[in-house]
Amino acid sequence: MLSDAGITLVGFVPDGGLRELIGRLGADPAIDTVALTTEEEGIAMCVGAHLGGGRGAVLMQSSGVGNCINMVGMLGTCQVPALLLVTMRGQTGEANPWQVPMGQAAGETLEALGVDVRRASTSDAVPGEVARACEDAFGGGSNASGGGIAVLIDQAVIGVKSFDTGHGGPPDPGSAP
């Protein structure tokens, strides 16, 4: 779908919920993928893609929204279209309280910076929301920001991460948060 929308460059910081998508994008010859060290890099990279005539997207977990705050301002200031796909943590059923503050604040934070925020709360809604966001961002359609459009994919779509160690104790050291 992202290559159908003409997206040429995708940066990502992995999330469990994005694993399959990242794998598929890596196999798509129409799209360059870049493994980012931190999410704000992806925002700047989208600006470069737009300058060169490409279309950029960034995939991240909701905690990554907090890592991009200042850089996201550039999308509005420079009116650069970009797609942000955010898989949510910290919602209903979250088993890791450390994920809650940024997860709860991610949407409002992006809105405060002028990003047009949409939400997909069921798996059936995801393809339509992402397709509309691409069309609106890059196709001259309805884009409240004139810059970035984010689609927040509810934790309910991805599923809640389990920390069940099978012995009632904390997660094994080294397991990803």
Partner: protein, 192 residues
């Protein structure tokens, strides 16, 4: 003032004959943005007025999107230190057409000259080399500027060259600050 090479002369050398080479230029905020403008405002300049730490990654996005063009990022030590995480990302992405010129005066020149970590041992060229950049260089003397310029303009990328410049603050020569204007004139000049 700390001794060092001249930032404006270095920038002018980096951008000489840029038109024939089709060079695309991104500048980090502050002095590097004024430096590239002092060398001659150009539609294929994208000077940042904010987004500190983002210049190298704007350059990566541009380099991957336009592999037919050489992309030069001109930035400062403070800006690149803030965007340090871009170096492993760029090292892994390995764009052969991207060069980063760091005008390293070891200070935050825009805010009163406070020291940066490059004056206390951090070597950005060594960091880039450790991140897999095939071409890295430190230029400390004026006589070595041409070698640094050649690396930025033609060597196998990604390239990072640190130019140890004096910490003087030359006259402000400011580019347009209207973001959409900077974006649209750049795209128009590229024909996209």
């Amino acid at each position: 003032m700390t001794a060092g090479i001249d930032r404006r002369a270095t920038t002018a050398a980096l951008l000489a004959d840029r038109h024939d080479a089709g060079l695309l230029v991104v500048a980090g905020l502050g002095a590097p943005a004024w430096d590239i403008t002092a060398a001659g405002d150009h539609p294929l300049n994208f000077p940042l007025w904010g987004a500190m730490g983002g210049a190298a990654m704007v350059g990566l996005g541009l380099a991957l999107t336009r592999p037919d063009r050489r992309v030069l990022v001109v930035t400062g030590d403070g800006e690149q230190l803030m965007g340090l995480t871009a170096l492993p990302t760029i090292g892994a992405a390995a764009p052969s057409n991207l060069a980063i010129a760091v005008l390293d005066n070891e200070h935050y020149g825009e805010t009163g000259g406070q020291p940066t970590a490059t004056g206390s041992g951090t070597d950005l060229a060594a960091v880039a080399a450790a991140c897999g950049f095939p071409t890295t260089l430190r230029v400390r003397e004026g006589d070595d500027v041409p070698a640094g310029v050649d690396a930025c303009r033609a060597a196998q990328g990604p390239v990072l060259v640190v130019f140890k410049v004096a910490d003087d603050v030359p006259d402000l020569v400011v580019p347009p600050r209207d973001g959409p204007l900077l974006v649209e004139r750049f795209r128009a000049a590229l024909g996209v």
